[in-house]
Amino acid sequence: MKIAILSGKGGTGKTTLSVNLFSFLDQVTLIDTDVEEPNSHLFIKGLDLIEESILKKYPVVNEYLCTNCGKCGDFCNFNAIIPAKKKVLVFQDLCHDCGGCQLVCEPGAITYEDKEMGKTYLQTLSEKKKFIYGNLNVGEVSGVKIIESLHKMTKNEELLLVDCPPGTSCSTVAAIEGADYCIICAEPTPFGISDMKMVVELLRAKNLNFGVVVNKYNLGNDDIYNYLDVENIRMLEKIEFNREFANLLAKGEILIDHSDYFKEKMANIARIVIGEVND
């Protein structure tokens, strides 16, 4: 069972929810797919990390075979390969590793070489608990390949939590791939609602089941409840904002270790979501 936690807006509590659900559950694996700025690992204290390099391919042009026809440059949507006067320019960090330039190169002048684009870090906390996060190298254009690696590494998990990136772009789409249920972690502010609407649109387009956790419910306004009502979206739980939670999080603490209120919220969310999927 794969459960994704996403939000649209940053800072609504995806990571808080992810690491606390992870701590609450007995047998579970968590992946942090926010590879541009992973944070979950800062809450999870455990054993050594096992690093693995994630490679991407970039084109290399054999100038003896190249006829300077220009087709590779016309094909590339990301300006990563540009045929110039005497040589073909390749900008490795712009390449999305799609393989297209090789397909359109009639003289067969293009081959690919590997380049490290980021890493994954695996941490085994116990026989029943495992955590993996990805980290994209600075300057790389897309973390999708690392997110796909995280999914491959966890494809046989009984219960998998996916801490997703903010936004609704390629990385988020890759992160929710194959999810049995998605939890939108929303805050009741104009910004939270605006960004959540984009997530709702994405999840409906992908035909995925989802519900909403309203985090920091005592801030902002009531617009979110009207929206959920009108759109007929299930509210899974409401979690209050208080200063004590903020203080604990600022120290990198897991909230359920300190708050029975928060622990009960995690229990409810887990029960509802696992129940929904099993129905």
Partner: protein, 119 residues
């Protein structure tokens, strides 16, 4: 000889752009025909790699010299590969003014990138 200038507007009296590859227009001055032509810059809205694309467009237009505000490393690599010379103009001038400065050899040659890549 053709000279390209990054510009906010489409005439030789327009103010020069403070971005090279994301300028609204390139004004192409043809020194043989003594004409100005404005080209809407198709690279200005690229998600990534605007620098390389802009240079390719200039090369396709037969440009020999580019007058620019600043250059990232990719644009600079591309200018070298297309054998287009680049010179840096000061801000707030108009296209005609920076062109005069170029002919009076008052614009510095750009051999190293002035800004880091933007992505």
């Amino acid at each position: 000889m053709k000279i390209a200038i990054s510009s906010n507007g489409n005439t030789e009296k327009s103010i020069v752009s403070d971005r090279f590859a994301r300028a609204e227009y390139f004004i192409i001055y043809d020194h043989d025909a003594l004409t100005f032509n404005a080209v809407v810059n198709p690279a200005r809205n690229e998600g990534s790699g605007a620098g390389g694309k802009a240079v390719k467009i200039l090369a396709d237009l037969g440009v020999d010299v580019a007058l620019v505000p600043e250059l990232g490393p990719k644009a600079l690599d591309a200018l070298k590969a297309f054998e287009i010379k680049s010179y840096q103009y000061p801000r707030e001038k108009n296209v005609r003014e920076v062109l005069y400065m170029y002919f009076e050899k008052k614009l510095p040659d750009l051999l190293i990138s002035t800004v880091k890549g933007h992505h």
